[in-house]
Symmetry: C2
Subunit: 336 residues, 2 copies
C-alpha cells in the first residue's frame, strides 16, 4: 500500500536527492542541498523556485503517462514507465533545441499499489534525470480513483529568440530524421498481438528505453542547422503534418530514404507502415536549408535526409517514383 | 463525444485565446497573437517559450484535479471545476508572494464525455485566468481510461531571492490568516451528508469559487511583512505544521481568534473543527515579526492574528486558557 502522502513525498524527495550533481552552467545561485544548481527551492514548498541562465528564455512542456493508455503494468516494468515518462518531457525540450533545467512530477496512485512499484518507477525516472542533468524539483501526489496517473512537466531553457519552432520550414528546405523509425510501434504491435508474452526490453530498446535527443537538438540549434524541428512522438506522418501546417508548406518524402528500425531477436527490419505512421520513437524530425551540409552523424546519432519541403501544402510519399498523398495516421487519442 | 485530439486542441486554443490582454510589466518581447506578453510561443509547438521579467526567478507549481477525488460531476458544475483547477495553481503562486506568468493544462477525458462539459470547464478556467492575467500557454490532452483527469501547472515569477518560503518562521513571530476558514470543508460535509441535494454555489462561495490571494501575497512580499507563508489547501492544522516543520519551530494558536466562515442560507458560522482542520479554503497563512504592524485588511481581504511561533517544536491550540496539542488532521490522500 502506498505510504500516506507525506511519507510518499519524503520518499520521492529522498529518491530525487540522488539525482543531484553540479550543473555545467556558470554563476552560483543559492542552492538547496541535494538539488540542481538552477533550483533555489525545491520539493517541500508551495512552488519550486528556479533561476534562468542569463540571456535565456523558459521552455515548458507537459505530458501525461496514464495506465491503460500509455502503458500497461503487465507489459512495462515500473523502471521503464518512469524512464518513458521523463523521456517524453525531455524529448520536447530537445525538439526546441533547448536544455532541461528541472522536472516536476504529478503522480496519482491507486490505494492498493505496492510501494515497490513506486520505488522502481522512481528509480527509472531518476536514472534518466541524472543522465540529462534534470533533477526532480517538485510536483503533486494524490490518490487515484483508477490506475496509475502521471503527468511530467519539464522546464528548460534556450537562448533568447533561438528556440527552434515548428513554423520555420520553407520551400526547398531538406527534411531529416535522426535514428531509425518504427521500433517503438513494432513493440506495441507485438504486445497487442500476443498480450501474454513478455518482450525482452533489450530487443526493443526504442520502445522500452527511448533516448531523448537533447544533445542533437542543442547542436542543431547552436549551429543554426534547423529551420523547423519536432520530436517524433505521434509518428512521422502526423508530426511532419504538424511542421507543414505550422509552416504553411507541404512536403515530399521518399519511402526508400526512411530509416527503419530493426527489432526483435533475431533482428528484423520493421515494415514501411510502422516507420511512417508508428509513434513514440522520440527521434527528431527537422528541416534545413537546401545546400546546408548536414553530417551523417551528430552527437553519435545517424541523420538521414528523407525528402524536401514544397510550396504546395500537401504531403506526398514517393515509392519507386510513384507519389501518393500521405494522410497523417499517427497516434491520436479519441479516435472515433 | 469529445472531438479528436487535434480538434480538442484547436478548441482549447480558441477558448484560451480570449484570455489575452497586455500585461502590466514593461519591455516588449515578441508576442504571438492572442497570448500574454511573456509568452513568445504558445499552444501548438513542442514547448511553450516564456520570457522572465528582468531580475526575477521562476516559480513552478503543479496540482491534480481528479474526478472522484477532488470533485464530483454531480456536485460540481463544469465551470466550477475549471475555476477550482486553476485556483489551486494560482494559490500556490500567491503563497510565494509571486505573480503568475502562464498556465499549462494537462487534460485527459473519457471518450464518452459530452463536448459541452469541456467547453463549460474551459469557460470557468479561462475566466479566472483572465482575472489574474494568466493565459493558457500549453499542456497536453489524452483519452482517459476512467473519469476526468486534469493537472494544472502555473509558472510565475518573483524578484530574485524574494520568494516567501515556508522555512522563514522564527520564535516570537505572530501568526496570521486571511479571510475566514472552514467554508470550503463545510460545503463538502453538506454534500457528503446529502449527496442528492444540489448546493447553491452562491451560499458556499469559498468552496465553489475560491479566490487565489495573488494581490495579498504580492503586497506581503513587497512590504517585507511575511517571514514564512503557505496557502491553506490542506487545512490550518496541517499547513501550520508544514510551516513549523520547515522552519524548525512550534506554535500556539487561540481558538477564539480563528476567523470562521459563514455558510449556507440562512448563513451560519462553521464549527471550530472545520475551521481548524478543513481544507481547500485557499486563504494565506503567514508569520510576521513581533511588533510589525499588520493592517486589519490588505487588498480588501481581512487579516486576523491567530497566535505566535514558539521555540518548542509542537503546536498547541488554546481554548479558554486550556491548551492542547494540535494534531495535523487536514486533508491527506492515502489515509489508512
Amino acid at each position: 500500500m502506498p505510504l500516506p502522502e507525506k511519507a510518499l513525498i519524503a520518499e520521492v524527495r529522498r529518491l530525487a536527492g540522488s539525482s543531484s550533481r553540479p550543473r555545467r552552467h556558470g554563476s552560483s545561485p543559492v542552492v538547496a542541498a541535494g538539488i540542481g544548481a538552477w533550483i533555489t527551492a525545491g520539493i517541500g514548498d508551495d512552488c519550486a523556485v528556479l533561476r534562468l541562465p542569463p540571456g535565456h528564455e523558459i521552455l515548458v512542456t507537459t505530458d501525461f503517462t496514464l495506465e491503460g493508455i500509455h502503458f500497461r503494468r503487465e507489459w512495462h516494468p515500473p523502471e521503464v514507465v518512469g524512464h518513458r515518462c521523463l523521456a517524453r518531457g525531455l524529448s520536447d525540450i530537445a525538439a526546441m533545441g533547448g536544455e532541461p533545467l528541472a522536472a516536476f512530477l504529478s503522480l496519482a496512485l491507486p490505494s492498493d499499489l505496492p510501494q515497490t512499484w513506486v520505488r522502481r518507477f522512481m528509480r527509472g525516472f531518476v536514472a534518466l534525470g541524472k543522465k540529462y542533468d534534470t533533477p526532480l524539483a517538485g510536483g503533486d501526489t494524490a490518490e487515484s480513483p483508477n490506475g496509475i496517473l502521471a503527468d511530467i512537466i519539464v522546464v528548460g531553457s534556450v537562448p533568447k529568440g533561438k528556440a527552434v519552432l515548428r513554423s520555420g520550414a520553407r520551400p526547398e528546405d531538406r527534411i531529416y530524421v535522426s535514428g531509425e523509425l518504427g521500433g517503438s510501434a513494432a513493440a506495441l504491435m507485438e504486445m497487442r498481438a500476443r498480450p501474454k508474452k513478455k518482450l525482452n526490453p533489450r530487443d526493443y530498446p526504442r520502445h522500452f528505453h527511448p533516448e531523448p535527443r537533447i544533445e542533437l537538438g542543442r547542436i542543431l540549434r547552436e549551429k543554426g542547422l534547423a529551420t523547423a524541428m519536432i520530436d517524433l512522438s505521434d509518428g512521422l506522418s502526423t508530426d511532419l503534418a504538424h511542421i507543414c501546417e505550422e509552416s504553411g508548406v507541404g512536403a515530399e518524402i521518399e519511402s526508400t530514404a526512411i530509416p527503419r528500425a530493426e527489432v526483435g531477436k533475431p533482428a528484423r527490419e520493421v515494415n514501411l507502415d510502422l516507420a511512417v505512421h508508428g509513434g513514440e520513437d522520440y527521434e527528431l524530425l527537422f528541416t534545413s536549408p537546401r545546400g546546408k551540409r548536414i553530417p551523417a552523424r551528430i552527437a553519435g546519432v545517424p541523420i538521414a535526409q528523407i525528402g524536401h519541403i514544397t510550396r504546395r501544402p500537401k504531403i506526398f510519399l514517393f515509392n519507386q517514383r510513384v507519389g501518393y498523398e500521405l494522410e497523417p495516421r499517427g497516434w491520436e487519442h479519441f479516435r472515433q
